[in-house]
Symmetry: C2
Subunit: 424 residues, 2 copies
Amino acid sequence: MAKTVKDLSQVELEALKIELEAMYSEFASRNLSLNMARGKPSGELLDHNMAVLDVLDDPFAADGTDARNYGILEGLPEMRRFFGEVLGLDPERIIVGGNSSLTLMYDSIARLMMFGSCGFPAWRTLPQLKFLCPSPGYDRHFAITQEFGIDMIPVPMTENGPDMDVVEELVAGDESIKGIWCVPLYSNPQGICYSDETVARLGRMKTAAPDFKIFWDNAYGVHHIYGEVQLADIFSACDSGGNPDRAYYFFSTSKITFPGAGVAMMAASFAERKEILKRMGIQTIGSDKLNQLRTLRVLKDAPTLKKHMAELADVLRPKFDIVLQLLDRELKDGGFATWNTPRGGYFVSLDTLDGCAKKTLELAGKAGVTMTGAGATFPYKKDPRDRNIRIAPTYPADAELRTAMELFCVCVKLAAVKKLLGEF
Amino acid sequence: MAKTVKDLSQVELEALKIELEAMYSEFASRNLSLNMARGKPSGELLDHNMAVLDVLDDPFAADGTDARNYGILEGLPEMRRFFGEVLGLDPERIIVGGNSSLTLMYDSIARLMMFGSCGFPAWRTLPQLKFLCPSPGYDRHFAITQEFGIDMIPVPMTENGPDMDVVEELVAGDESIKGIWCVPLYSNPQGICYSDETVARLGRMKTAAPDFKIFWDNAYGVHHIYGEVQLADIFSACDSGGNPDRAYYFFSTSKITFPGAGVAMMAASFAERKEILKRMGIQTIGSDKLNQLRTLRVLKDAPTLKKHMAELADVLRPKFDIVLQLLDRELKDGGFATWNTPRGGYFVSLDTLDGCAKKTLELAGKAGVTMTGAGATFPYKKDPRDRNIRIAPTYPADAELRTAMELFCVCVKLAAVKKLLGEF
């Protein structure tokens, strides 16, 4: 077994530091300006979707509905059928939204806060509110719960999803715990896929809160890169667990067609959906149906979508290969970091030595590479061990990505050495 | 002066009733199915806007922003400049939304409820909340305030806008009155245009609530039909009145391009806008910028928009002519109803004899013509005098509209006669 950085003597660390600082200076002198902060697709990926921008010469839906005009709050029937086919959902559970599933999530929390659902009291009237936040997780989820003053409880992740022993114990004993954020397939940032057992336990677990909600953000539901992982059906799990109204399901074409102009959807139990539609009908006369048609005429059906996603994966795979190969080559033997090897999704999650994430990103930033802020993957942006870093390889061009990752690896090592030398 | 229906003897009324019932039966026998319920544009109007559906071959904004990707929460600069130019607003006040200004209004109320604004407490924490509702008004406005449990106080309309003597007295004496709904140009349903004096008084009036808000829904801001009416600038009025944060301004291209796929916007003071954007940034990563480009490449600038609206007005004017000429011919001399003669917008508002609106619409409905429900134009759908009817002439084709209005006039008269005969 090779010697890791932790086994090095003071003298060896000092020598390594000089070597790394020289490499770092070389990168810094290049005046790089690379941004890997967000999970944005590259222009090359977007160019694959230009057919969505083609002329829409027939603005009528299959049933003759004029998609230009007002109405059809729940979305065009063919759009709901499409989402149903792709995700294995009953279209009667589905509501098509605008361009943002994040908005559907925010609005769902807002409705629960203001009004409650299914006869349960409005959350704002309760003395305390808490949400389980499997961590590391998605910063924009955490921002929503924080915005509404909902206390966030981090839950550790396992290779099968959130640690269900912890989850079950927490929800059983505390009625102020009202929900959980989940990215069940290729989780953000770790790329973890929830096992069938995890899904089943989420559906059947006893919760002290009678109106406990699973926010099931299946953002990467069809975003396979290295083969295909199957996800169990959360609605079946909730139904057979005796908790039919427990799950809100979210999905969008943001990372299938265009992030700024995709089509979002949510799904829920029939009772919940009826109530949500009633309240949504006060908020809007309906989402953009022309964009539904535009998107649908390109994505067509599940087989066409599958082909489309395989094409996108062909663009994404080399980017993930670059990241994973460089991490492997630069950081593995020295024990500088650990990371996941996702089979899909948009991210690679890396853990530095404890206490080194902020310093690593500070170094990278000063040399011109912006990455997702340290701590962003934890509630309140507080990573208790200051070690998790989200790598978002999808936006830069391959050559830029390679440079950025080379620098990043130097920064990870340099921060580790400085830490072990007691410099910070 | 001609004899009105109220001057008729019992015998004359009975004779008229027999005549009207024969006419009514004739219409009923035609099995009509005409819908004039909502302010929807006709297919003919929408066909004028098909250029918006053309291929979007260049998805980049003027500053190089890739409109396909995430970001630009406040909307593309050129879209804000366009709205600013058209409405005489500083683009730095403007936030571009999705396809629905109604959603921007709902979300604004929701934010005030949950969070408050500019340092004032969240409205949900206050013991009572009230809104002034100039009536008749827009049912979807009233539905929002009702949804959030805000008590609605009807305020009478004058030919210059809401009765400002009433408004000033109410807002000065009751700190629970938090806002007012306004459609300042071609008001829904009466087509009333707020005078400069009304705008100035709204801006400077003393309100007991320090965070009083004017919801300025300028839905028909460029929808002139018979000449052009100018609207005073509400922000100038608020600024010079010493109440810079008082107005939220709303507008959209829903009735310029496509109702289901237009571009909405809101504007506010600089302080309010900053706070709104911060909260919006939790709710969404940004609105659909491709639709902003699509819309902008057709509407271009204020002169092009003016020409576009003149073309739409040429389609709308014959519809309004049909309505106004038939009302004049059928209902004027007999004193069966009074109505406004709008110079723009989307509606004609008619008052039957007291207590006759529901019956009139019931008769019309039974003969196959659906119109906006009686009472819809008042808070809680309660028209205290059961007399106001909103006529929406924009959707039906001209021939259908003529038939529907002929029937409608018979129904107005028949209901009046039955009322005077004591039949209901």
